[in-house]
C-alpha cells in the first residue's frame, strides 16, 4: 500500500492525515511535495496525523526531519499527531522524539499552535 494523504484546515492549521507507507521512493516524494505545496501557499502551521501510517523506514524518518526543518526555516511549525507504536519507537530509538512536538489529542494539538 502506497502513501495517501488528505488535507483539511482547522482554524489556522493545515492538518495532513497520512496513511500507508512512508518509505524510500514514492511515499517520501509525496510527503515532500505535500509540505512544499503547503509552504508555497503560505501555510506554515502544519499538523501531520500519522495514526494510519502502516510502515515507515529510515528514509521516511528522514523525510519527517526534512519537513520539520523546511517548515521551521520559514518561521512555521510542524507537529506530529497520533503516532503508532512503531513510529513512536523509531523516533525514540533515533533520539528524534524530543525534536518533534508530538500530540495524541487533535484539539489540544491545534490549540498548541494558537498559543505559539
Amino acid at each position: 500500500m502506497s502513501m495517501k494523504a488528505t488535507i483539511r484546515q482547522v482554524d489556522s492549521v493545515m492538518v495532513i492525515d497520512v496513511s500507508g507507507r512512508i518509505t524510500l521512493g514514492e511515499g517520501c516524494a509525496q510527503l515532500r511535495e505535500l509540505i512544499r505545496d503547503q509552504l508555497s501557499k503560505g501555510h506554515k502551521q502544519i499538523l501531520l496525523n500519522l495514526a494510519d501510517v502502516t510502515y515507515i523506514d529510515s528514509s521516511g524518518i528522514g523525510e519527517l526531519v526534512s519537513a520539520f526543518t523546511a517548515v521551521s526555516n520559514q518561521g512555521g511549525q510542524l507537529k506530529l499527531l497520533k503516532l503508532t507504536k512503531k513510529v513512536h519507537d523509531l523516533l525514540q530509538i533515533t533520539k528524534l522524539y524530543t525534536v518533534f512536538d508530538i500530540h495524541d489529542d487533535e484539539a489540544k494539538a491545534i490549540a498548541s499552535f494558537q498559543q505559539a
Partner: protein, 161 residues
C-alpha cells in the same frame, strides 16, 4: 548431532518494488521461526534497510543486477544473508545519526536501525562478486510463539522475479 537449519533462498531483481516482496518473505520466515510480532517487525525493518542499501547503494538501482537473500532458521537463531553486486562500504565511515551534529540530517539512519534491531550485523566484501551482509536474530525460547505444534519444515526455494 547438529540439526540441519531450515533454509529459504530467494533471488530478486535489484528494484525497489521488490522491497515489499522481501518483507512478505521475511514475515513468513520470522513467523515460522516463532518470533513474536515486535521481533518480526524488527527483522522486517532490518532486511528492508539492508535491501535498500543493496539496491540503491550496492547495485546503484540497476535492475539488471540481482539481490540474493538466504534465510537459515536454526534452533537458536535466524540467520539472514543478503548479497548484492556492488563494491561495498566501510562501516567505519558510517557516522552516528544520534550525535548532535547528525540528529537533523535527512539520511544515515539505516545501518543504525539494523544494528539496533538485530543481535549481530556483519559486512563481508566478496572481491569481484559483491558485498554480503549477515544479520542474526537470536531466538529466545521464552518468547517464541508456537505455530500449531508442528515441526518446522525444511524449505528451499530459488526464484527470480
Amino acid at each position: 548431532m547438529t540439526s540441519e537449519p531450515s533454509v529459504v533462498e530467494v533471488t530478486l531483481e535489484s528494484d525497489l518494488k521488490n522491497l515489499e516482496v522481501a518483507e512478505e518473505i521475511v514475515r513468513r520466515v520470522a513467523g515460522t521461526a516463532g518470533f513474536g510480532e515486535e521481533s518480526e517487525h524488527q527483522i522486517e525493518m532490518a532486511v528492508h534497510e539492508t535491501m535498500i542499501n543493496a539496491i540503491w547503494h550496492g547495485n546503484k538501482n540497476d535492475a539488471s543486477k540481482r539481490v540474493w537473500l538466504r534465510f537459515e532458521i536454526h534452533k537458536d537463531r535466524l540467520e539472514i544473508r543478503i548479497r548484492d553486486q556492488g563494491v561495498g562500504f566501510n562501516l567505519a565511515d558510517v557516522p552516528d545519526p544520534c550525535s548532535g551534529d547528525n540528529l537533523l540530517k535527512v539520511s544515515g539512519r539505516g545501518i543504525f536501525l539494523i544494528r539496533t534491531f538485530m543481535d549481530e550485523f556483519h559486512v563481508k566484501h566478496l572481491p569481484g562478486s559483491g558485498t554480503e551482509v549477515t544479520l542474526v536474530k537470536r531466538i529466545d525460547p521464552a518468547h517464541q510463539v508456537k505455530k500449531g505444534g508442528t515441526d518446522r519444515e525444511h524449505e528451499s526455494h530459488n526464484s527470480t522475479s
